[in-house]
């Protein structure tokens, strides 16, 4: 007999595993030369994307960052179109013009990953302004890493959102690393102190515990929806892979790097499921479904066509009506 809490956790497990397996597949495709450019993986941070997104609707909007695959998948971007995009194909969600750092899907309120650290934060502020002016119950969520804490727009955005009581949730995924440097060597303040300074409530949560992230986010989001103003959520987590794929991470201490697996949100989730006496076949079925889904998306990506250059100029500006 599967309880409701077990069902919920199995859902989280499946969604986190989907993000993980997609990224590991992308990593392999990148190594084989099937994915061009740069990719930045969120392996180890899946609980944040899945936990936060559990509290959101399709009409809520998010602005993501360069480590945004999990956000995109969790917000509901079509997986085939996602793989096609990252593999640089015409049929990709952005027609092959954006790639990993610019995956967006307006139909599910995913306003884009972003190649500029911190840049998504004020975009989300603007989106929250639109929700406020339209007088909907929708909210905007800005996802950013601790590396973005030192960006000026974060401080401006905190101030503006608080001043205007915007319906926005600022989610800091604190993995301890600002690209190739420990954030402790880059930033002197604490996220919660910044929130306090800008008169916003803040919560800290274990970002590797998907249920905790989902529970806290659900509470916060319901307050924001009822015109409670902006809030800040700090999720502490671990970055397993390098800043970018192929980064040898020689700047990381071997023991610290080895310890990251102790915090793996998927392993931790599976342990809880086992304590709940979840049937092994339920977990095995999820693994099979996820593997099949990733395999299908990979096939779709490989089957896509290379974009042609011919029509590109027509989309720099909105084509004139009737043109």
């Amino acid at each position: 007999m599967t309880s409701n809490s077990q069902k919920r956790l199995l859902g989280f497990y499946e969604r986190m595993l989907l993000v993980r397996e997609c990224e590991l597949k992308l990593s392999a495709l990148f190594a084989d030369g099937e994915v061009p450019g740069f990719i930045h993986l969120s392996v180890g941070q899946e609980a944040v994307a899945i936990g936060v997104m559990d509290a959101l609707n399709d009409s809520d909007t998010i602005a993501s960052n360069h480590r945004g695959h999990g956000h995109a998948i969790a917000k509901g971007v079509d997986l085939d179109s996602f793989f096609l995009e990252i593999m640089g194909k015409q049929e990709g969600i952005c027609g092959g013009r954006g790639g990993s750092m610019h995956v967006a899907d307006m139909s599910v309120g995913m306003l884009g990953a972003n190649g500029i650290v911190g840049a998504g934060i004020p975009l989300a502020v603007g989106s929250a302004l639109a929700h406020q002016v339209h007088n909907t119950q929708n909210i905007a969520v800005a996802f950013f890493g601790d590396g973005a804490l030192a960006e000026g727009v974060l401080h401006e955005s905190f101030n503006l959102a608080s001043l205007w009581k915007l319906p926005i949730l600022f989610v800091c995924e604190n993995n301890g690393w600002s690209e190739f440097s420990p954030t402790s060597m880059q930033f002197v303040a604490e996220v919660r102190d910044l929130a306090t300074a800008f008169k916003m409530p803040s919560r800290q949560v274990d970002g590797n515990d998907v249920s905790a992230v989902a529970d806290v986010t659900a509470e916060i989001v319901s307050t924001i929806r009822s015109n409670g103003g902006p809030q800040v959520l700090e999720c502490t987590t671990r970055r397993v892979h390098g800043h970018y794929e192929g980064d040898p991470q020689q700047y990381r201490d071997a023991d610290e790097l080895a310890s990251v697996s102790d915090y793996d949100p998927i392993v931790l989730c599976e342990e809880v499921l086992q304590k709940m006496k979840t049937a092994g076949r339920d977990i095995a079925a999820i693994r099979t479904r996820v593997a099949d889904r990733v395999s299908a998306a990979t096939d779709a990506g490989r089957a896509g066509t290379l974009p042609s250059f011919g029509h590109l100029l027509a989309d720099v500006y909105t084509p004139a009506r009737g043109a």
Binding site: T61, A63, G92, I93, C94, G95, G96, R97, G98, H102, A104, D105, M106, S107, L111, G112, N114, G115, I116, A119, P122, L123, A124, V125, G126, S127, A128, L129, A130, H131, Q132, V133, H134, A140, G152, V153, E156, S157, N159, L160, L163, W164, L312, D315, V316, Y317, T318
Partner: protein, 324 residues
Amino acid sequence: MGEVRFGQAINLALDESLENDPSVVVFGEDIARPGGPFGVTRGLQAKYGELRVRDTPISEATLVSAAVGAAMSGLKPVVEIMFMDFITLAMDGLVNQAAKARFMFGGQCSVPMVLRTPHGGGLNAGPQHSQCLEAWCAHIPGLKVVVPSNPADAYGLLKAAIADPDPVIFVENKALYAAKGPMEDAPGPLEIGQAHIARPGTDVTVVTYGATVKTALRSAGSLSESGIELEVIDLRSIQPWDEATVLASLSRTHRLIILHEAVTAFGTGAEIAARMADVGFDELDAPIVRVGAPFMPVPFAASLESQYLPDADDLIAAVHKVLA
């Protein structure tokens, strides 16, 4: 309507846009309660409320990027940057976000925002409050750049900019705010990208925009007395710019001068000159000449700034050069 001032024409275009389209919002530093540093947005907050007409903190980067996010989420924001010099603080929002969203997301969205900002010297405002940086913006694929020269055009072009689905940088020369000009009772929007022949002439084509249209018209008047007829083309927008009208004029006069207040080097005039040297080479009877500011920051002292700014004498010297 009779005569209106440049600033009033802009206010009217904002007023009507707020009235007719609930998705239009207006925000910027000191634009709402104080009515704007040049009084251009006076009265709009009282009429349309604090939800849609807002003063912002002094946070140029975030207010421009917030306009981008708002535009991607169904609003049509019109933001003001108090002096064009301050767009330096907002370049990520303009260059990396607004300009690219449509293209890099495969046409999924457009970014219907307008950034209004004053440029230009003449107020002895010094090196950081006087620059003409429009060519920077025109260099970025995805941005449109509009520079009106008179009240009626300011009204018609701003209406067009707000209705435009793409990001438009709307540049207002500070020296024009108090200038008066005629305006019809119910003027329609103008088309961005369509130049206006401000004065027909047969001898030399002068391509210009913004405040230097007046300079060109004044020079044309005095040159006409000595039998030289300038054709003055007011570009109205520099991105896109009306290549066909410029080429057609060049084909009549066979001589071309480009005049702007901005620094000459790597400027709008350089682009027009290069293009006309390509597609209009056979029409040219003289080298193309650019008239603009020297390659230096805008100096403060009145005696220095007046010498820095391109004026009628500079244009007249250029006319004699291409006719020599």
